[in-house]
């Protein structure tokens, strides 16, 4: 009230002062917004800077530490982002038989489809484990959650979005230890935990690989060593694999796979929160909610073979390629990181030619849009690129696939043509 009255009753000079004072009030909201913006900008930078001081350790010792790690009880939040750079967004999901819209197959809550979703985009997971007999993995969705629970011989999957339950008996005689065992085994290559990742990466080691300890880091509030794995050969699309290992108990906490040509990590998976105390027993208890639709695993399985095929169907076509391998045969060119798989299709025919009548023109155009045309001594072909795996389909029907650059594929094809 005061500024208002004085403005009306006094002269020009005071009115500008009052005006200024009025304007000054707006500094408060602006300052609040500014401080907030600065905090948002600075806090992550400050949080990142503190790499812990840990005693030096060799790569060998670190790997042993991982191997010796016998931590069986943990719970935590796990974040995984995958950017495979597939030609079409979300192609990974649609390639899976009965992918996202899996409901129609009747096995809405079946684990395979859900785990496949993890191969693209960013997901938050919760994991809990208490020895080999009890594990739980939850994928947090928008106002819903997909939980996979293994509790002493029983495997339950509960999809809260559709309120459907999937039930299976845990495979007998399989020794626990890893978390992947909790369910009918996750599709090959589908990421699960840092431990699985680490084992996969280390298995590929050899003369072709440099394994070093690259400093330390803070992961999920714990001190960790960073194991850096890099291909020694050139031509690989994999830049580096980085594994953060808990300095205290050797549990891999974070896994980062970077592409050779830089950019965002292809796979970035790690704990954002981890606790090595025993999770509450109620975490693993599951009784289907009253009235929920329960699908038994045996109802889903029409035959063992089909199940086997499902598991292999990681990128859809791979299953077909397996089939091709059986008929047409395939061999591996090169070794280590730059190994290239070569398939010869039995018909000796590659992609249908435009206008050959095998394929509608639109479909042909679509395929061309996905790939790059290349030519070389082998003739000509099309290269299909993702950020990690490239494939060359030659016009005479050979397929070269590997985690290598386009040039390396062409060289391999040239060498094979000689």
């Amino acid at each position: 009230m005061a500024p208002n009255d004085s403005a009306e009753t006094t002269g020009e000079a005071t009115s500008t002062v009052v005006g200024r004072r009025k304007a000054a009030r707006y500094i408060v909201p602006v300052a609040v917004a500014g401080v907030a913006a600065a905090t948002i900008g600075l806090v992550p930078a400050l949080a990142d800077s503190g790499d812990p001081d840990l005693p030096k350790i060799s790569a060998q010792e670190l790997i042993e530490k991982i191997a010796a790690s016998d931590e069986e009880q943990l719970s935590g939040t796990f974040k995984i982002s995958t950017d495979l750079g597939l030609p079409l967004d979300g192609l990974a999901g649609s390639l899976v038989p009965g992918g996202r819209g899996g409901d129609k197959d009747g096995g809405a809550a079946a684990p395979q489809d859900k785990l496949m979703e993890l191969t693209s985009g960013t997901h938050t997971l919760r994991v809990a484990a208490d020895g080999p007999e009890r594990q739980k993995l939850s994928i947090l969705g928008d106002a819903s959650e997909y939980s996979l629970i293994h509790n002493q011989g029983e495997v339950w999957a509960y999809d809260s979005k559709s309120d459907e339950v999937y039930h299976a008996e845990a495979p007998e005689g399989r020794d626990g230890g890893g978390r992947a065992e909790k369910a009918p085994k996750a599709p090959e290559g589908a990421p699960a935990t840092p431990k699985d990742f680490a084992e996969q990466a280390l298995a590929a080691a050899g003369d072709t690989t440099s394994v070093t300890v690259d400093g330390t880091a803070q992961v999920a509030g714990r001190d960790a060593y960073q194991l850096l794995i890099k291909p020694k050969q050139s031509g690989s699309t994999i830049g580096s694999v980085r594994i953060a290992v808990d300095a205290e108990n050797g549990v891999p906490l974070k896994f980062t796979l970077s592409a050779a040509n830089g950019g965002k990590a292809v796979v970035d998976a790690g704990f954002t929160k981890v606790d090595f105390a025993q999770p509450a027993a109620s975490t693993f208890a599951f009784t289907p909610p009253k009235g929920a639709k329960v699908t038994e695993a045996d109802e889903l399985e029409t035959g063992k073979d089909e199940r086997g095929a499902m598991q292999k169907a990681l990128p859809g076509q791979l299953a077909e390629l397996d089939g091709l391998a059986g008929e047409g045969g395939f061999n591996v060119i090169g070794e280590g990181w730059t190994s290239i798989a070569e398939f010869r299709s039995p018909g000796g025919k590659g992609l249908p030619e435009a206008g050959s009548g095998d394929m509608p023109a639109e479909a042909q155009g679509f395929l061309d849009a996905l790939g790059d045309k290349v030519t070389g001594k082998f003739g000509s072909g099309t290269v299909f690129k993702t950020r990690l795996v490239n494939a060359l389909l030659t016009d005479d029907g050979s397929v070269y696939v590997g985690a290598v650059t386009k040039d390396a594929l062409v060289r391999a094809a040239d060498a094979a043509a000689k």
Binding site: R25, T77, E145, D163, T283
Partner: protein, 302 residues
């Protein structure tokens, strides 16, 4: 910055000669504001619409599943609003389904009407100057207005929750609650979670209420303020649904609204909830102080 620090001092002086008053006086003002708010027919209409939403959802789900083929209903439920699939089997989830259905539009729209009307409505009906003649002071009046809008947020949310609980218990079986993480909690703890959820939803609306109050100080037209506030809500909801703008999404006040569902995880997943609270606090601070800056410096002509 020095000027900004001076401002609180100005604010203390601002109410004029009657600088110190008992806090009881403020409480009395707040009580009269809230009772005025609750006596308005418009408030009843808003609350009645909110209470009707769970009834509609409940009856619709009941008819859908009652017509046979419960399994079909379950499969389709995945596409509808969150928690709809669980409602058939446990009426308790109607609370969450109703909150999920009303939170994007109905609830904030009601809050936007009340918040937008808070100052501008008084101005357009010519009662604002009489309010200011009373020795309340502008800052205090603004705080009381905001507090009554917040009270409305809580009342509106509780109306939805209680109506949903009543309808759910009437139309569907109730019993132990399976959290969305698959663990089971008793009905009593479920009720505690439902109450907590209602509280979270009410807090989620605090930032939007502050925006409404700010808009309300900008204009002398009550209708204009309501329209602008609700229009802003719709704009933000549209922005939040455009994936190409994902960079700004974390800063939109509506972005973390659905995080109330995290209360139903076991253990409760606090990450998004706390982000939501921080964001609401930020909006309250920025738009609350902007409303204060505007209102305390404004010429009151009506």
């Amino acid at each position: 910055m020095s000027q900004a620090e001076k401002s609180p001092a100005e604010r203390a002086i601002d109410p004029g000669p009657q600088g110190s008053r008992s806090p009881l006086w403020t409480l009395g003002l707040l009580r009269s504001e809230i009772s005025t708010l609750l006596r308005r027919h418009r408030t009843y209409a808003l609350l009645a619409v909110l209470a009707a939403v769970p009834v509609l959802i409940g009856i619709a789900v009941r008819i859908e599943t009652g017509g046979g083929g419960g399994g079909e209903g379950g499969a389709e439920g995945g596409a509808g609003p969150a928690f709809l699939a669980q409602v058939t089997n446990n009426g308790f989830f109607l609370v969450f389904a109703a909150l999920a259905a009303t939170l994007p539009v109905f609830l904030p729209m009601a809050v936007g009407v009340v918040a937008g009307d808070a100052i501008a409505g008084e101005a357009s009906s010519g009662t604002l100057r009489y309010l200011l003649v009373a020795p309340a002071g502008r800052t205090r009046l603004l705080l009381v207005k905001y507090a009554s809008v917040l009270a409305f947020c809580l009342i509106a949310t509780l109306v939805v929750a209680v109506s949903a609980l009543a309808v759910g218990a009437l139309l569907f079986p109730v019993g132990d609650v399976t959290t969305i993480s698959g663990t089971r909690i008793g009905f009593g703890e479920g009720l505690v979670r439902a109450g907590l959820t209602a509280l979270v939803v009410a807090v989620s609306l605090a930032g939007f209420a502050a925006i409404g109050l700010f808009v309300s100080t900008l204009t002398g037209s009550g209708i204009g303020a309501m329209a602008a506030t609700v229009g802003l809500l719709i704009t933000v909801q549209i922005l939040d649904s455009i994936p190409q703008l994902s960079g700004v999404h974390p800063y939109l006040f509506a972005h973390y609204w659905m995080s109330f569902a995290d209360v139903l995880r076991e253990p409760v997943y606090w990450d998004d909830l706390s982000k939501n609270f921080q964001l609401q606090g930020l909006y309250v601070a920025v738009f609350g102080s902007a409303a204060w800056a505007r209102f305390t410096a404004k010429d009151i002509t009506a």
